[in-house]
């Protein structure tokens, strides 16, 4: 989908030289493959099952390891990825890690508290937190929109679809 075929890295570095992060990807792919093979060895094969549960993981794990090696070789030979472009994506600037980490933190908060506080609360925090992480500075307005969205979605699922989501601390109020 790229319209720009000039090679360049995610970090905006000049073309030329290996994309070192790709070695990291190769290592991850190799580890996943190796673990898949190891996991398959722990399975037992039944009597009336000529193929058994091991064959597929063995094949997939082995190919993953081979692909990892190929990727490492390709990287060493100067092959570089074409990072995905898009409407709102500007690849000429270095990645903005603080924003990503803030988003991840807000997301983790939602996972931790969704059962105890309930979706109407954590959903609103999720929305407002994400707008804040992405650079919006109208906190009151963002929180209000978040509350409207989360409460409305809760009622939509409850009334229209008959799926009661956890009300959490607001049990009895909603």
């Amino acid at each position: 989908m790229s319209h720009d075929t000039t090679p360049r890295t995610d970090d905006g570095k000049r073309a030329g030289g290996a994309d070192k992060a790709q070695y990291g990807l190769a290592v991850v792919v190799a580890l996943v493959g190796a673990y898949t093979i190891y996991d398959a060895t722990t399975l037992t094969v039944g009597f009336a099952d000529p193929v058994g549960p091991r064959v597929f993981p063995y094949v997939i794990g082995t190919v993953m390891v081979v692909l990892a090696v190929l990727l490492a070789v390709a990287t060493a030979r100067g092959d570089r990825p074409e990072a995905e472009e898009g409407e709102d994506v500007d690849l000429t600037t270095p990645p903005d890690w603080p924003t990503v980490l803030k988003l991840l933190a807000v997301f983790v908060l939602n996972i931790v508290f969704i059962d105890s506080l309930g979706w109407p609360v954590t959903g609103a925090v999720l929305f407002a937190g994400c707008t804040w992480a992405l650079g919006s500075r109208t906190l009151v307005k963002d929180v209000l929109i978040g509350i409207v969205l989360s409460v409305a979605s809760w009622y939509f699922f409850y009334v229209a679809l008959d799926i009661p989501l956890t009300p959490g601390v607001l049990e009895g109020i909603l």
Binding site: M1, S2, T5, A21, L25, V32, T36, D39, V45, G46, A48, D49, P50, V51, F56, P57, I60, G61, V63, M64, L67, L71, D79, P81, E82, A83, E84, G86, D88, V89, D90, P95, D96, V100, L103, F107, V108, N110, I111, V112, I114, D115, W119, G123, L126, F127, C130, T131, L134, G135, S136, D142, I145, G146, L149, S150, S153, L161, I163, L165
Partner: protein, 504 residues
């Protein structure tokens, strides 16, 4: 004419005021989500799928059909008005469409896209009505070895033929196959790759994988690279066509439909090839003095029709073989399974009512799309100006809501986060998304078929080539691989134009 009677029966079941209301809600939601920048049809369908779970099958289908067509149409609106196609099948539409918009003909571009999509979608759905039962009749007779071969063909074609980097395609495919392994082994009941975690005993829900990789991955990726200077959005009036536009559009619509449907129906996946071919054909036919390059309406009409006809064509292998060939079709397979339907050769005979209702729903959704979206186009165009913090916060909000409502457990949100990070890494390393999604869906099916084939033969591997059809398919796979390898030397520039298999 049996099929036609059954389809009319399906229409009768589907056409009630309540159902029409759900269809309208589906079309509006689908377009709303599809129009948002960065969201293509597959992601729109994945995000909105949980909404349909609370409904009865008929209502769910009809709403789902609306979401599906709405999402597709929303994608073309974005590519015409922003010149940044949401997915690879809209690339060709964007070329001439955006030039038309810049010349003040946005309304005509949107109109020819909408009407062309409607015509192609309707013809395509009717062709499904005739082809799917015929294929299912044949498919009932083919055995596990041939099934295994056909699925292998689908993943090899999608991975090796599409996309610019074969290596990255295969890495994505095998990552998907690995994800497909997680959970209880279907025949022995032993957990695989579950890290001792009982919550992983059920297989990972494809909705969570898809929403994580499409929605969360996209939002995180954009957050890391947010464009500071906003893109220029071209305002759109109410879409309309004058006599001359009609005269120039109707042939490209039909030609696009004729090109698109067969490519959707064979397991070669994706609308990239037919939209590209349609664009080339229209440009050739228009001759040298045409408007091509400055915004030719033919260049929007043809590829848009091809795109929709190919999307309709994917229903043939999906319904008759249970074989999805695009990211959107993979989500759809998951949706059908969610409604308790197992697509495959037996589906047509075991649950004919549901199939015909589904096909009727597609026709209704398509019609409603035209009725609602022509007048609403200016409103959708305004959505493109949504401030980016709200847009991506909204995506994260709805992605979480969708993933949570599947089973209502926080663990699914954790999985969503994991797949979001995978999706982020895939965008960073240029790994295509479609092979991964197909790997997750087709991996377990392939394993089942292979073990079925080999348990009949008691482990004799030659059983895999015991059917003539299987042998033929293996030959096709080898030929396709050889052609890909050699075509790299012969037509590099063309391949660079149609590459890109990302389904986001």
């Amino acid at each position: 004419m049996d099929s036609l009677d059954l389809l009319l029966g399906g229409l009768g079941d589907a056409l009630t005021p309540t159902n029409l209301m759900w269809a309208a809600v589906g079309v509006l939601l689908g377009t709303f989500v599809g129009v948002l920048p960065g969201i293509g049809p597959a992601m729109a369908v994945a995000l909105l799928l949980p909404v349909t779970f609370g409904l009865e099958p008929t209502q769910a289908f009809i709403m789902f059909a609306g979401i599906y067509y709405g999402g597709m149409y929303g994608g073309s609106t974005t590519s015409i008005l922003l010149n940044t196609p949401g997915e690879s099948s809209s690339v060709m539409t964007a070329i001439e469409g955006n030039k038309m918009a810049k010349r003040g003909r946005a309304a005509q571009a949107l109109a020819t896209a909408a009407i062309g999509s409607f015509i192609a979608g309707t013809i395509g759905t009717l062709l499904v009505v005739f082809f799917a039962p015929a294929l299912a009749d044949v498919a009932v007779k083919i055995g596990a070895p041939s099934y295994f071969a056909i699925m292998l063909l689908a993943i090899v074609l999608v991975t090796a033929v599409l996309g610019s980097s074969k290596l990255r395609g295969f890495i994505a495919l095998f990552m998907g196959l690995t994800i497909g392994l997680v959970g209880l082994d279907l025949s022995t009941g032993q957990p695989r790759l579950n890290f001792g975690q009982s919550l992983l005993a059920d297989r990972i829900d494809i909705v969570i994988v898809a929403v994580g990789i499409f929605a969360l991955g996209e939002a995180l990726w954009v957050a890391a690279h947010l464009r500071t200077s906003p893109l220029q959005v071209i305002p759109s009036g109410r879409p309309w066509l004058d006599k001359d536009d009609w005269r120039r559009s109707w042939k490209p619509w039909l030609r696009g439909t004729a090109l698109g449907f067969p490519f959707g129906a064979i397991p070669a996946g994706g609308a990239e090839t037919p939209t590209f071919l349609s664009y080339i054909v229209e440009r050739k036919l228009a001759g040298k003095d045409s408007e091509f390059g400055q915004g030719a309406i033919e260049g929007v009409a043809g590829p848009e029709a091809a795109n929709n006809a190919s999307a309709a064509g994917t229903f043939v292998p999906l319904l008759a073989l249970g074989l999805p060939v695009t990211a959107t079709a993979s989500i759809m397979l998951a949706a059908l399974q969610g409604y308790g339907i197992q697509p495959g050769p037996q589906l047509m005979s075991s649950q004919p009512d549901l199939v015909w209702t589904l096909l009727a729903s597609l026709l209704i959704g398509n019609t409603l799309l035209l009725v609602l979206n022509l007048p609403l186009a200016p409103l959708w165009a305004r959505l493109l100006r949504t401030p980016r913090p709200y847009l991506y916060a909204g995506i994260l909000f709805f992605a979480s809501l969708g993933a949570y409502t599947v089973n209502q457990r926080p663990f699914d949100l954790f999985l969503l986060l994991v797949f979001g990070l995978v999706g982020f890494a895939m965008r960073r390393f240029g790994l295509p998304v479609l092979p991964l999604i197909l790997g997750v869906i087709l991996g377990p099916l392939m394993e089942t078929k292979m073990r079925e084939a080999l348990s009949i033969s008691d482990g004799d591997v030659s059983a895999l080539v015991s059917e003539p059809l299987a042998v033929v398919v293996y030959v096709i796979i080898v030929v396709a691989l050889l052609v890909t390898v050699f075509s790299r030397f012969f037509r590099r520039p063309v391949a660079a134009d149609v590459d890109g298999t990302s389904g986001s």
